[in-house]
């Protein structure tokens, strides 16, 4: 299947179209909104579902050396991508060091919804993938935050009356944030109860998954559209370009990292997607605590309003194509 076919097929899926609907509604200033309580629950549902399914897969396949290698690659990428992003942003844009560090942290970390959209695309191609990638997603969330903090501290040593939390406390807090706990917890439960456990709750976490994803993507479209409307003025052209080029750079790095590893094509596509995705839930909250001087209008708008739509619409088909080249 050609890249163009992949892209077209991806663009006319209900998921992408519901995202587009949300985007359009927000840009047209419709009063359509999803209540916050429901948006939070939908996000938890997605974590629960993919965590559990991944764990049940691993219960079948067991822990393998491949899994550990891919996790290691993920951690390293999550740690170094912010450095690359930081250097690039400082070179091409006029962002302050703190803003550049905060933005870069988002690109080192991952977006679960992009990952989920990737799974849909991979499954749409009939490709299998390794269940442990859920665990890889979990370990890739946090290193980028640490990396960004180190960058910001180099640029601006914490002042004496700096009452921010210690990096340790912060990492602990991020490690226990709702998404990580839900994802890892469900993964472990799926692992412990295996395919039998999965069969018990599949009518909730498997069957309606795609429809619920559509609703969540509608919500993401609404929030992204609102962000574009409010936040666009904070983004200069170089920053905007960063939001599209950085995921491509990350995807290239992930492809390289995969070459010696021998993941399946589906698994490779997902690993590349993870690496290319940018966080928009966990990292923004961490940045508000760790680097409150960084402007949220910049990093939230860029991650959610530029990179997420790009990945959803064009990135994922591209990463699939890359994967078919590097995957086993």
């Amino acid at each position: 299947m050609s890249l163009l076919d992949l892209a077209t097929q991806n663009l006319v899926s209900p998921m992408v179209l519901f995202f587009a609907l949300g985007l359009a509604a927000a840009l047209a200033r419709s009063d359509l909104t999803i209540p916050e309580a429901v948006a939070k629950t939908l996000a938890l549902y997605l974590m629960m579902s993919i965590g559990f399914k991944g764990g049940a897969e691993v219960a079948k396949s067991g822990i393998t050396a491949l899994m550990l290698w891919v996790m290691l690659a993920g951690v390293i990428l999550s740690f170094i991508i912010p450095v690359i992003g930081y250097v690039a942003l400082r070179a091409v844009s006029r962002l302050s060091p703190v803003d550049a560090a905060a933005v870069s942290a988002h690109y080192g970390s991952i977006s679960i919804v992009t990952f989920v959209a990737g799974i849909e695309a991979v499954q749409g191609q009939g490709l299998p993938f390794e269940g442990f990638l859920v665990a890889v997603a979990a370990v890739m969330e946090t290193p980028a935050i640490l990396s960004a903090l180190l960058l910001a501290r180099r640029a601006r040593p914490p002042s004496r009356d700096d009452e921010g939390e210690s990096a340790g406390a912060l990492i602990r807090e991020v490690g226990l944030n709702a998404s990580v706990v839900m994802l890892v917890g469900s993964f472990l439960i799926g692992w412990a109860t295996g395919p039998k456990g999965l069969a018990m709750i599949a009518p909730f976490i498997v069957d309606p998954f795609r429809g619920i994803l559509c609703l969540f993507l509608l919500d993401m479209g609404l929030v992204a559209g609102r962000g574009m409307r409010e936040g666009a003025k904070h983004l200069s052209p170089p920053v905007l370009a960063f939001g599209i080029i950085m995921p491509l750079v990350s995807a290239a790095l992930a492809t390289l990292a995969l070459m010696p590893l021998g993941l399946s094509v589906g698994g490779a596509a997902l690993f590349i997607t993870l690496t290319a995705s940018a966080s928009y839930i966990a990292v923004p909250a961490a940045m508000r605590l760790a680097l409150p001087e960084a402007k949220p209008a910049i990093y939230l708008t860029l991650s959610l309003g530029v990179t997420f739509p790009f990945n959803l619409a064009l990135g994922i088909p591209l990463y699939l194509a890359l994967a078919s080249w590097v995957g086993r």
Binding site: T33, I34, P35, E36, A39, K40, L42, A43, D161, E163, G164, E165, F216, D219, L222, V223, R226, E230, G231, Y280, I281, A282, P284, A285, A286, M287, R288, L289, P292, E293, P296, A297, L300
Partner: protein, 104 residues
């Protein structure tokens, strides 16, 4: 007539990720209590925001109300301000009367 006592009412609007940091300060400053009220949306010098549809905490605000002793108010305010100076948010102080002085 009901005998009332003068207290100060702090009303703090702060971004949600910094909420724990703020309540920790309030506790350290020795306030006897506080109450947290949800906030739907708002506008300030940083622009318009809305909690609708948000799955995460960033970009969301909450309101914290604390009734404090007038004598302690300045000290509490200083601590609160040390958080708010770095985070998005505002604080206002007003006079209120309470019935049981010992409760606060």
């Amino acid at each position: 007539m009901v005998v009332t006592h003068l207290k100060k009412r702090l009303e703090i609007i702060v971004e949600a990720p910094a909420l724990h940091r703020l309540t920790d300060r309030l506790n350290q400053a020795g306030v006897t209590g506080y109450t947290i009220v949800p906030v739907l949306a708002g506008r300030g010098s940083d622009g318009t925001w809305s909690a609708e549809g948000l799955a995460g905490d960033a970009g969301r605000l909450v309101m914290v109300i604390s009734i404090v002793d007038a004598a302690k108010a300045d000290a509490v305010l200083e601590r609160v301000y040390s958080v708010l100076a770095r985070q998005i948010g505002i604080v206002t102080v007003s006079d209120v009367q309470v019935i049981r002085a010992d409760h606060f």
